[in-house]
Point group: C2
Amino acid sequence: MSEAKPATEKVLVVGAGFGGLSFIKATKDPRFEITLVDSHNFHTFLPLLYQVASAGLTAESIAHPARAAIRGRKAKFLLDTVIDFEFDQNRAVLASGERFEYDRLIIAAGSVTADFGVKGVSEFTLGMKSIDEAMIIRSRVMRALEQAARVDLQPVPIVIVGGGPTGVELAGALAELSKVLHKDFPELGPAPLRVTLVEASDVLLSMFPKSLSEIARRDLKRRGVTVLTNAQVAEVTKQDVALKGGRLLDSALTIWTAGVKGNPLSSLITNRMDLPSRRDERVLVDEQLRPAAQKYPNVHVIGDLAAFLDKEGKPLPMVAPVAMQMGRQVARFIVNPKTAGFKYVDKGSMATIGRSDAVVAAKGIKISGFIAWLAWLGLHLAYLLGGRNRLQVVIDWAWNYLTYDRTARQILR
Amino acid sequence: MSEAKPATEKVLVVGAGFGGLSFIKATKDPRFEITLVDSHNFHTFLPLLYQVASAGLTAESIAHPARAAIRGRKAKFLLDTVIDFEFDQNRAVLASGERFEYDRLIIAAGSVTADFGVKGVSEFTLGMKSIDEAMIIRSRVMRALEQAARVDLQPVPIVIVGGGPTGVELAGALAELSKVLHKDFPELGPAPLRVTLVEASDVLLSMFPKSLSEIARRDLKRRGVTVLTNAQVAEVTKQDVALKGGRLLDSALTIWTAGVKGNPLSSLITNRMDLPSRRDERVLVDEQLRPAAQKYPNVHVIGDLAAFLDKEGKPLPMVAPVAMQMGRQVARFIVNPKTAGFKYVDKGSMATIGRSDAVVAAKGIKISGFIAWLAWLGLHLAYLLGGRNRLQVVIDWAWNYLTYDRTARQILR
């Protein structure tokens, strides 16, 4: 109830992902003048990206306009890319040439695909970290089918590398797309796509309890996916994937979901702050999510880009709930610098395998099948941004479910 | 009831537009083995393209997969582009290198933008003849707004050249988008887009009765569009449109809808058949829609690419109803070569100006306003291909109408 009006503070938020937006949503005090910068004019709902890649949803359904997302907050939006930092001058350098001066900086720039140095990954595989990449996958799948219907007259082999949630969900969705496409490509047999999922470790969905991982594997197989575990990729070429040990998988299209690492901004941050770099290219942060609290107390790094170590010294996973909780932590901190340090509350994991089928592990509860799938649907709808997008996704899901059709088979790239 | 089984006939249809698809739909006899070739794997519903350009609809809503469109017919689809004809050998040369042998050829390759030799049109204007171009317009509009909000702090000037239905409908739609975007770009005033429509003749919508043209002009003005008639473009540059007489219109984005001409295949056809070429780059056809009935009785040209002269010696307009009626004419002709010659039945014209407002002229009836708009909605829904797309467009229209929102503001190009 103090009469003194606190000074305004210019806050720059880098990245319109889950971390950046949850910070903005949690910051209601108008004394914080927020500027959000992103190279896209929309937030991408990454958990449903695989459905864009597999022709189930249009790109717009999972892309919420950034200006709509921050409406109602004292926040501006800049369509631009941060290319450097001048931390000593409290400035971010933008691709447009502008030097943006901030009082506080929140870097939530996300992650990119990591190829772990495997030969051929960057030339011959597609990643799945952006709408652009998902649209390219969809177009490449459809083009490969057109080609096969004309020349090979046999199913199109697709190899997905990485048995985490992204790989599992994409494999399941492509296997279902395959059945749907039978009526368009009868000359390619009952399943025009031949999907193989390759995982280096001995188990899919390693963050899940073993029993659920086994269910996921069984259900993918039932849907026609060939699942290879303990299968390490030695090299990818234009037409095949070579596994260590010599096995060759032919592949018209190889999708790499086997690894992620911090956005390239991480090396700028560690260089400019004179901090050691990490192999995962994430930036080590303290309990207030700062990489260098002593020297740069006004700089926070959150989300996938931040390596916050748990009790066992392992960084938290690169998932949306971590980013969102981190965003809210910084929102609390800037109002009250004495706020308690960050603690991640793990609410569990879920992954969908296909029609009426998902696995959910939360607080000791393990469910799979239809009920898990309903839980998955509900949670994803709840977290999707924008009433229009929510309505759209419900309609598309209902249509796809009822008609065994897929909305978005057009080659647009 | 003859017992003799007629020989099969290989029919090649070039182009999945209104002409090609209406031919295929009308051809039910399985003795015709149809192959449809198009460089896209979808049919584009061009009458609603302006709504994709103005962020009201997603691209997928007006793009119906070609394989779905021909399902149920004895027809195959080839994703390929015709690059030449060898009429004497009954072959079409495809970009893939294949030479496709046909018994009958139906060329329905459509039209492209014509710049009439005006300087700067090809470098500095965007056409609106494909989904790709519409997506680029949408992205350029949104980018220009982002730039204006940052630098100029005044509305973005957009010039549309051409007062035909495409220009009028796009102008109206952008004027409405402008109002919707006010809440995203308050710094640019109540109408962040400043739309000018430029027409060389003295009237908009020249194919309509004068009274409806005047209503269209009045209603566009009421929506904030500046309408300039008797305004001929002398030159287009990066930042302005110079009119003959010296007036300069500044323009962040110039969209050229002032002219169309036949697809470049027309010159191949006239060269290879040794026919005179036409200034409008269309191919003159006889009453069975053949350019050279004597020498090549098995080659038809239909749709925008065909110049079929009416009683006054004027070619029919390049519109969907002409193409569809031509497709059905050829379908009748191949079953019965004695079928009566082509006669175009003009069912009227309609154009929408914006929310609750259209003009319709049909068989002496002239209507405008809400009733005309309902007629416009109904007819466009009826002709749109695919139940999914119809449902989608109804939902988008209802959403846009009720919420004054626009679905597709994301910059995806």
